[in-house]
């Protein structure tokens, strides 16, 4: 571990001021990912600026009819908030599908967006990794890539984004509120995370001197017809091989609106406008779900060990859409997939 200094930010303005003075400083909030990465020498900040005590812990209604979630709200508090449970149950279940309760008690909402990949080679400093050390090569492409991406990959990187919460946020079309030296701005969740391209070292479009202050949920929560299905190697407390967030608005058996996002398969939560458009006006049945799955997985490519993810994702998409249509979302504790 590289020695580092520790300072505390008094308010958001102070946090931005502090990070501007030191290009190697990093913010720390929940710390559940960053401290781990420091222990593995994957990250070596000169200083940690503690933002965990900033007053960004409220969950409030917006004038647009949505909800504004403070960046420091712990993941567990968000998942169990009565408004989230009632109006955005897909988000609550996605959060509760991730990590353990101890980690959800620590991890912040803003930090969840900034989790780094769990690719084995990113963590293993003895191996080349373009995300960790740009230009050094990708060990996963020809390596043990069972957990790696099948969509949106590049020759430089086939890492996946590990978050469950972000998959639901993508389907709900959340908006990320940030502040930097140039002022405040908002970033649509679809534009927040990046595909690896030639710059896999950059996970997001957040600038190093900006801070996430809040996540905004639009009014529509799809609380009647939704499901979040996570497929993993253990029944709990493991990262997704494939996860699906599906939300439908139905008029009888006809689909009026559809949202569909995949986790565990790409460098960001994976959505396709074509897949969602293919469901519009259709009867909510296996034929329509299969078409949507084909669109969503269009261009999917395996790298050997992860070829199975393509078929697994197709079946998971169809099952999750069926659960959503029936109004029987996947249970968090009953692991049987019905």
């Amino acid at each position: 571990m590289t020695p580092f200094q520790y300072t505390r930010a008094n308010d958001v303005a102070d946090a931005i001021k502090q990070i501007a003075t030191d290009p190697y400083a990093k913010f720390i909030a929940g710390g559940t990912n960053l401290i781990d990465l420091i222990k593995y020498d994957v990250e070596g900040p000169s200083r940690l600026i503690d933002i965990s005590h900033l007053p960004l812990r409220s969950i409030e209604p917006t004038s647009a009819g949505g909800v504004l979630i403070g960046a420091m709200v712990p993941n567990a508090d968000l998942a169990y908030h009565p408004v989230i449970e009632e109006r955005y149950p897909m988000l609550a279940r996605a959060i509760l599908s991730g990590a353990s309760q101890q980690l959800r008690n620590m991890a912040s909402t803003g930090g969840n967006l900034l989790q780094r990949t769990r690719c084995f080679y990113f963590y293993d400093t003895a191996t080349p990794c373009n995300k960790r050390e740009p230009g050094s090569g990708c060990s996963a492409i020809d390596g043990v890539n069972r957990i790696n991406a099948i969509l949106g990959t590049s020759e430089a990187c086939i890492a996946t984004h590990p978050s469950d919460m972000c998959v639901a946020l993508a389907a709900l079309e959340a908006v990320v509120h940030v502040i930097g030296p140039a002022g405040a701005r908002t970033i649509a969740i679809a534009d927040f995370h990046r595909l690896p391209g030639n710059t896999p070292q950059r996970d997001t479009n957040l600038e190093p001197d900006e801070i996430i202050t809040a996540i905004e949920l639009p009014p529509k929560g799809f609380s009647a017809n939704y499901s979040y299905l996570k497929i993993r190697d253990r029944l709990s407390y493991a990262f997704a091989l494939v996860s699906v967030a599906a939300a439908l608005e139905l008029d009888g058996e006809t689909i009026k609106e559809a949202r569909l996002a995949l986790g565990g398969v790409a460098h960001k939560p994976w959505r396709s406008t074509a897949a969602e458009a293919a469901l519009l006006g259709q009867r909510a049945d296996a034929t329509a779900f299969a078409k949507a799955a084909d669109w969503l997985l269009h261009g999917a490519k395996g790298y050997g060990h992860n070829n199975f993810k393509i078929g697994l994702a197709r079946r998971a998409i169809m099952r999750t859409l069926d659960q959503a249509a029936r109004g029987t979302p996947q249970s968090i504790s009953d692991k049987k997939i019905r």
């Binding site: 020695p3 503690d50 253990r234």
Partner: protein
């Protein structure tokens, strides 16, 4: 802001960072420490306060052996810095008993033989105390799901679940 790229660790800091004072409340007693900034809460408890009931298992947030309660909420003490917990009330396994009486969870773990080697036990018990306080688990399936952050390599899970159920009924 431009990012100057990778530098050797030595080049990133002008001098070795100084130790910093931290005040915690551990098991209802004030604890004043002077620690290196990178000292985790786990290392502060074990190495500075000699409270070795909290175990270091993986040190990476994967096993749950280091679980303690901060302001009554269960967390992994290996993934937070002592400095980040300035002023917080920390409860470790040493702080659960009252007036010489075992905590109901400690008694339940004995009653149900809910351990073999015992290394995960203090984390299991602190985690279960947090679980009961949260009030989200009722069925065995819900307990299993919400205790999944605590690994028992001896595989004492059925007895751990039974012990937690007993303590829940009596709390």
């Amino acid at each position: 802001m431009t990012h100057p790229g990778t530098a050797t660790p030595a080049a990133r800091i002008a001098a070795v960072p100084e130790k910093i004072p931290v005040t915690l409340s551990v098991n209802h007693k004030p604890a004043k420490l002077v620690v290196a900034p990178w000292t985790t809460l786990l290392d502060a408890l074990r190495d500075h306060l000699n409270l070795t009931g909290t175990k270091k298992g993986c040190d990476h947030g994967q096993c749950g052996a280091c679980t303690v309660l901060v302001e009554g909420r269960r967390i992994n003490s290996c993934l937070t810095l002592a400095a980040m917990q300035e002023g917080a009330e920390i409860t470790t396994v040493e702080g659960l008993s009252r007036d010489g009486e075992l905590h109901p969870l400690q008694q339940a773990f004995i009653d149900h033989d809910a351990f073999q080697c015992g290394y995960c036990t203090s984390g299991q018990i602190c985690s279960a105390a947090g679980l009961i306080a949260e009030g989200k688990a009722r069925t065995a399936a819900e307990i299993r799901e919400l205790m999944s952050g605590n690994i028992c390599r001896c595989g004492a899970y059925p007895n751990i679940i039974a012990a937690i159920q007993q303590a829940m009924e009596r709390s």
